[in-house]
């Protein structure tokens, strides 16, 4: 095995500890998000906690299990910027849903 191959290998290998840490964290975070339901939190607290644990878990999986943390920015940016399109879509559809529920309430219950 020549030197270049050796170096390529070491670049792709990370200490086992980091994987075990992330693994453990994912378990703990999943447990916490289950606890949100267990203790039946309601309203903003519930939604906030669900989103917080969800984004933390998703971030850990992408950054370390999918190695994005170690990839070059050219790839990371190509993968993450399209997510803004999804964010726009969510905002559009949330507005649309409000309009739909308003018209439904208006026509179903008051007859227009």
């Amino acid at each position: 095995m020549d030197e270049t191959q050796n170096k390529e290998q070491s670049a792709s290998t990370h200490k086992i500890g980091i994987y075990l840490w992330i693994w453990g964290l994912l378990f703990v975070l999943s447990f916490f998000s289950y606890m949100v339901d267990w203790f039946a939190f309601q309203g903003l607290l519930r939604w906030g906690l669900i989103l917080f644990f969800m984004f933390l878990k998703a971030g850990l999986i992408m950054a370390f299990f999918m190695h994005l943390f170690w990839e070059r920015y050219a790839l990371v940016n190509v993968l993450l910027w399209p997510m803004t399109a999804i964010a726009c879509f969510i905002i559009l559809m949330a507005a649309e849903a409000e309009y739909t529920v308003f018209t439904r309430a208006l026509y179903f219950f008051t007859g227009g």
């Binding site: 990370h14 693994w23 998000s33 339901d37 969800m54 999918m66 940016n77 439904r104």
Partner: protein, 234 residues
């Protein structure tokens, strides 16, 4: 692209400008198959986003109450109903298999054939367990009268979103399990050490295939994180 030169390139945003403006290869140090998998996963992200967004739209525009998921998906332990028990176990099973996959990728790059193969096999078995539990969940709900067009718990849209979203995710898991078993066999046989040409692609086998498979598997776990949050917990 050898790592020797990769280390000499600028990093961060400056590196991005450099890579994008360079000749021939924009994504330095990324094997083409790995990049193609990322592009596939990006498109898959959009598909799942469309499902989850239409679910959001459907749920927030119905005038009938949405079924209480923590009751609908509760399991009885003895005579006590435990909310979301099966879903919680499924989540832990999938995270476990994601962890074994991450370790398989690590051992693959270290050319540790045995450890890599056993961990890929463990991942496959974890995935199979998940699919098994999902079949149990589906048949339980179907017995309780949940249909894509109606259900006894509340808003009628619940059934169609449930079957569509978890079904599409389940298909992803099933396909992943099939590939995991195939790759476990390939790894045990030593294809990645000998560089044996693949039956289907006729490309030389390399341990990078394990990382590509790992990307897919982690993505399946990633989607479940979002389904768990939005469909089951919300």
């Amino acid at each position: 692209m050898s790592d020797n030169t990769l280390n000499n390139l600028p990093g961060g945003f400056k590196g991005m400008a450099h890579d994008m403006g360079s000749d021939q290869t924009a994504f330095k140090g990324v094997q083409w198959g790995k990049f193609m998998m990322w592009i596939f996963l990006l498109s898959d992200t959009f598909i799942f986003s469309c499902f989850l967004i239409s679910y959001m739209k459907g749920r927030s525009s119905t005038v009938v109450d949405w079924p209480n998921t923590s009751e609908v998906f509760s399991l009885h332990v003895g005579s006590v109903p435990v909310p979301l028990l099966l879903i919680a176990i499924m989540t832990f099973v999938l995270i476990t298999s994601s962890g074994t996959m991450a370790l398989a990728v690590k051992f693959g790059y270290e050319k540790n054939r045995k450890m890599c193969a056993w961990l890929v096999l463990a991942t496959a078995i974890g995935g199979l367990t998940f699919v098994g539990m999902q079949i149990f969940e589906w048949s339980k709900l179907i017995h309780e009268g949940v249909r894509p067009w109606s259900n006894p718990f509340g808003a009628k849209q619940f059934g169609s979103f449930f079957f569509m979203i978890t079904g599409f995710h389940g298909v992803h898991v099933s396909i992943g399990v099939i590939f995991l078993f195939i790759f476990a066999r390939k790894t045990f046989r030593g294809d990645f050490d000998t560089g044996k040409r693949g039956f289907f692609t006729s490309q030389k086998s390399d341990y990078v295939a394990i990382e590509i498979l790992g990307l897919y598997w982690h993505f399946v776990d990633l989607v479940w994180v979002f389904i768990f949050a939005f469909f089951y917990l919300w």
